[in-house]
């Protein structure tokens, strides 16, 4: 992304690639987008795209299961890659894999950002990535029975392929889900398996790679290495994250985030839900900024639906998304203070502003945290006069004062600077390679922001700057966040001054909505980075595939690069500067 935009090949990208790689690339049939790349030459094509055509950023990797052939294609597993240039829309690559033994070459050597995402696809979909350096389960645990996102895998409480379930109406006698299973719990074991005589697998908790590192010794400084567990219950891991750290003295040799402690099966449930029914579930992804999650999902589905969003609704969406960004950054900086040992002071100030912003959300959307506010083609409720007045008061008076207060607290504070300057340095090329987005990427000096790269909603109408850092350390990320808070206020002030009248939704939302077949990737600049929703519709009332490209999850993969060589005390502050929410990491 740091590079200049490479001009498109004159004879069209598809034709150019077909010429360059004869027989390996073909356009995907309708209604799919992009290209189908042959499995054997994927790495070659990806390297070419990265080096020659400027597709330097691999945003999303995921798998889709087609147990039955669709659109003239055979039964298959598909891996779907979304590549981006510094500006513009995605290039979608589809790679087909055998349904019986799905194997796809790993793209980690070309794009390290596939590191966690390919593990996730292996874990949930069972697609094996050849050449992946560390292909273990990531969200579930080693030894789990089956790969849950496969269409033929059913959870213990499986009732029906799609909601609404027939047992609810018209003969809806309430039966708890537990009562329908023999064990009266959400449990299911493979046939013939018994706990008697069974022992847990040795590496359920993932110590394997660390034992190797811990065995090694530095010849210049031969001390025993220690493997240390941080979390999942730890006050500074921002949720149920577990960090496995190998230490030499106090210096970090290897650190590995172990996630999945909040894996709530978002995608499996999402495929059962109706299109609209997913909206309140997206609130619970990144529970700090539910409005942004709503917006991303609405934008993704609107791409398939082709609806016009009224102007007022667009303005309200931007207002809500920017308040959310402000809220997220305020809380994030507050927590940074907490992790540094400033204890609660900064955080209490941040949470006070949060309460006021939540008052606005509650007044408008009806709920403090789980707003469920956006609909396809608009928003659910109009902003009342009272809410606009509150928003104006916040955006013009209260919040600018708060940013000043926060800066007085941190920016020049010697103690804060001593702990953050030069800590957790992320070079821009590493950041791009790992697919980092959001303040983490911009802190390294890469001016990449989806609001500018691929403008959505009405962001192209607003005047704002992309804040970037220079050194890529924790302090710069803090400065980027503060700068973004000010830019958010700028956008908010413009939006509130220009807020037009009119309807807030194109047409009254329908409860059971059918979405035309196709695939879409909707992405927005969420406060934590690029939030992408990849959806596949087969023309029904439910998504066929629903995948969330969560910024926190992918930003977390760079943790090892950031922490290696630092002291153990710096881990929490580096983690705080990445700014993760576990609901989004684990989904």
């Amino acid at each position: 992304m740091a590079k200049e935009v490479t001009p498109e090949p004159t004879n069209g990208l598809t034709a150019h690639l077909q010429e360059r790689f004869p027989g390996a690339v073909e356009p995907a049939p309708e209604p799919y987008q992009g290209l189908i790349v042959s499995r054997d030459r994927l790495v070659e094509v990806a390297t070419y795209l990265r080096d020659e055509l400027g597709y330097s950023y691999l945003s999303s990797v995921t798998g889709v299961d087609y147990p039955e052939g669709t659109n003239g294609l055979p039964p298959r597993f598909e891996t779907v890659y979304h590549l981006f240039q510094p500006t513009g829309g995605p290039l979608v690559l589809h790679v087909h894999a055998d349904r019986e033994d799905p194997t796809v070459p790993s793209l980690v050597p070309v794009f390290p950002s596939a590191l966690f995402q390919e593990r996730e696809a292996w874990d949930l979909m069972g697609i094996r990535f050849e050449g992946h350096p560390d292909l273990r389960r990531i969200l579930l645990w080693e030894g789990f029975d089956g790969h849950p996102l496969r269409k033929d895998w059913h959870e213990p409480y499986y009732e029906q392929e799609h909601k609404p379930f027939d047992s609810r109406f018209p003969e809806g006698h309430p039966v708890p889900a537990e009562e329908r299973t023999p064990l009266k719990q959400n449990l299911r074991y493979p046939p013939g398996w018994s706990p008697r005589g069974w022992r847990p697998m040795a590496d359920v908790w993932g110590y394997g790679p660390h034992d190797e590192v811990a065995q090694q010794k530095n010849p210049a400084h031969p001390v025993d290495r220690v493997v240390l567990n941080m979390g999942p219950h730890h006050p500074s891991t921002h949720g149920v994250l577990r960090l496995l750290v190998t230490l030499e003295g106090e210096t970090i040799q290897k650190i590995e985030p172990i996630v999945g402690f909040l894996h709530r099966c978002h995608e499996k449930i999402g495929e059962r839900n109706t299109w609209l029914g997913n909206m309140p579930y997206t609130d619970r992804l990144d529970y700090v900024c539910s409005m942004s999650n709503n917006l991303g999902y609405a934008i993704a589905v609107e791409k398939l639906l082709d609806v016009e969003v009224p102007e007022r609704a667009e303005y309200i969406r931007v207002i809500m998304a920017e308040f959310t960004r402000f809220l997220n950054h305020a809380v994030s900086i507050g927590f940074t203070g907490n992790d540094l040992g400033i204890y609660f002071t900064a955080m209490l100030y941040a949470l006070e502003e949060r309460e006021l912003i939540l008052d606005l959300f509650e007044m408008t959307a009806g709920s403090r945290m789980m707003c469920n506010y956006m609909r396809f083609g608009g928003v659910a409720h109009d902003m009342s006069e009272e809410a606009v007045a509150l928003a104006r008061e916040l955006a013009f008076e209260r919040l600018p004062r708060f940013v000043d207060k926060l800066e007085a607290f941190f920016t020049d504070n010697e103690l804060f600077r001593a702990r953050t300057i030069g800590v957790g340095v992320l070079p821009p090329d590493v950041a791009v390679a790992y697919g980092c987005t959001g303040p983490l990427l911009r802190g390294s000096g890469v001016p990449y922001d989806v609001r500018r790269a691929e403008p959505y909603s009405i962001y192209s109408e607003f005047d704002f700057d992309i804040v970037t850092g220079t050194n890529g350390d924790v302090y710069d990320r803090y400065l980027v966040r503060v700068g973004e808070m000010r830019q958010s206020l700028r956008i908010l002030q413009q939006a509130l001054n220009r807020l037009p009248g009119g309807p807030v939704i194109a047409s009254k939302p329908k409860a059971t909505l059918k979405v035309p077949p196709g695939e879409a990737y909707g992405r927005i600049e969420a406060p934590k980075g690029e939030l992408g929703y990849y959806i596949v519709s087969d023309g029904g009332t439910n998504p066929y595939r629903y995948h969330v490209r969560a910024p926190s999850f992918i930003n977390l993969a760079v943790m090892n690069e950031l922490c290696r060589g630092h002291l153990i005390a710096d881990v929490v502050i580096i983690l705080a500067s990445i700014d993760i929410t576990m609901g989004e990491v684990d989904r």
């Binding site: 609810r168 109406f169 109706t274 309140p280 789980m370 209260r398 007085a408 504070n413």
Partner: protein
């Protein structure tokens, strides 16, 4: 010496806040004496963006006003004239409910066996409900609404949180009186 100046500046933020609380207390004292700060008229001002000083709501004694749109758990509305629920057992809410926590049994005519336009049983499991408000939003008859009852803590979950038709209507009655609906 300069090195510690900015730390002092950070302390000053907190100190200023500390002083502000006393100034705010005094302001309210001159407006109406002791206790004025914690009177019902003062609450909206203290909790607005203009508020200064201590931000706390003294919860059991005073309550934050809930906005009109705030939604907690659904309840059923009944017709005041007939005393019957307004619900016609069309099943829209059960279909649209994302976590599928609404169970409806449609009533049938005991003689002809034909389905009637009223529910025989109506259950909502509020231990599953995710407060999304879709049921109220999509109900074609405005027969189900989102209530604002939040203080529902209980010692037990199976009986307390599986609300049947009678309890759903009772919540409605209480809220209906309050909101004048």
């Amino acid at each position: 010496m300069r090195a510690s100046l900015y730390v002092l500046k950070a302390f000053a933020v907190t100190f200023r806040r500390f002083v502000e609380t006393y100034i705010d207390d005094l302001k309210w004292f001159f407006k109406g004496g002791f206790g004025k700060r914690y009177s019902p008229e003062a609450l909206p001002v203290r909790q607005s963006p203009k508020g200064r000083g201590v931000f706390t709501v003294q919860y059991p004694a005073e309550r934050l006003p809930l906005p009109e749109r705030f939604r907690a758990f659904p309840y059923l509305v009944y017709d005041e004239e007939t005393g019957k629920p307004r619900c016609t057992a069309c099943g829209t809410c059960a279909r649209v409910c994302p976590p599928q926590c609404i169970w409806i049994v449609r009533a049938t005519d005991p003689e002809t066996g034909k389905p009637l336009r009223e529910p025989a049983e109506f259950h909502i499991d509020i231990s599953i409900c995710m407060n999304c408000g879709f049921c109220a939003e999509f109900c074609p008859f405005d027969a189900i609404k989102m209530g604002q009852e939040i203080e529902l803590a209980a010692f037990e979950r199976h009986k307390a949180f599986l609300l049947d038709k009678e309890r759903l209507l009772r919540i409605g009655e209480k809220k209906g009186l309050e909101s004048g609906a």
